[in-house]
Subunit: 204 residues, 2 copies
């Protein structure tokens, strides 16, 4: 069954709430108060999960968590890489969640061969010209893109040519990508602007 | 006039497109093809801007950019701080966009006094116990929160007590904040999950 995109995003958020732990069972009413969606919307979302996750007395939290992971195909380890080993990129090389979680950081790339050689890293580092080979060898599907603004499109093009399917883009650039490649933009100035708007243009 | 939240978000995205530069004038049709919204929606959004930004032959890009900034109150320098000076937090201390842009990084805080003393930074650093004083002295309104997961809520509480109005939260925690405080969550694992879902559960 095809799940609508907004339902997927809500299930993802519900997964995050469930992972915080708490009670062993949850009712639709409790989820409503935690997540802020209507009970009807929650029941509908949960109906997409192909699993027996509880009854009238409440959903079993662990079963619900597993069912969401399975349905959204988050129930296995996925390989990722980071491109651009400046301050931000090298911070992610040492990011704890990538060493024991569902996303395993498998390689780091930088155009500067010298930087690749001297950086100390728990993850193997490679010069950019090895990108195609390494991405295919390890079946890496998603990349963090941490290069400077003026190199972002070129680096994205190389990643896509190597077969990458998703990019978390930290550069302040709207990337041009083919329709089969997914992009999420993370740029802190955009987040700040969004907050600023909420703070300063809310109803008085 | 109160602008609906989705219209604000679209105007923010349009601002980003305009800042990339290009043509001196833009028609609704061109914006439609760049941004992917309908012409009607674009015209309606632009009607919220209290400014003369063009006519039938197209919008004047520079005037449109200025009008969006003015209407969304992004036309001035806003002071921000960073709390938590680990790898990610200290990467942001040196972030170019915060040294000459609309958001001016004014202070960094860390609970570890030793770290505050030895880190080299273009921005003044303070121990956490000075947070209240510094935030008020410089009228800092927004903070980046880069502390570890188990310290995030406590640090957020201190920021809110000091009068902060917006938080960009990098910790994988759903923060509890009063309704007048705005939060944007940036957590790279959430972005990866969102991408993974799009890659692996799309219509075949």
């Amino acid at each position: 069954m095809e799940i609508p995109e907004p339902a997927k995003e809500r299930l993802l958020y519900l997964l995050k709430l469930l992972e915080k732990g708490g009670s062993a069972t949850l009712t639709s009413a409790q989820i409503e108060s935690l997540a802020g969606w209507s009970r009807d919307s929650i029941r509908k979302d949960i109906s997409y999960l192909a699993a027996d996750i509880g009854k009238a007395s409440g959903y079993d939290s662990a079963a619900l968590e597993n069912a969401i992971k399975k349905t959204l195909r988050l129930d296995r380890i996925q390989k990722i890489c980071v491109v651009g080993l400046g301050r931000l990129g090298s911070a992610y090389l040492n990011f704890g969640a990538f060493q024991h979680g569902e996303f395993e950081l498998t390689a780091g790339f930088d155009a500067n061969v010298n930087r690749v050689e001297i950086l100390s890293s728990p993850v193997p580092l490679y010069p950019t010209y090895k990108m195609n080979e390494v991405i295919n060898r390890f079946a890496i599907e998603i990349s963090l893109l941490c290069v400077p603004e003026d190199q972002a499109q070129l680096a994205a093009d190389k990643l896509i040519a190597a077969g990458i399917r998703g990019i978390v883009n930290f550069a302040p650039v709207v990337l041009k990508v083919p329709p089969e490649v997914a992009v999420r933009n993370v740029y802190v100035v955009d987040e700040l602007r969004s907050l600023s708007i909420r703070i300063h243009t809310e109803k008085a």
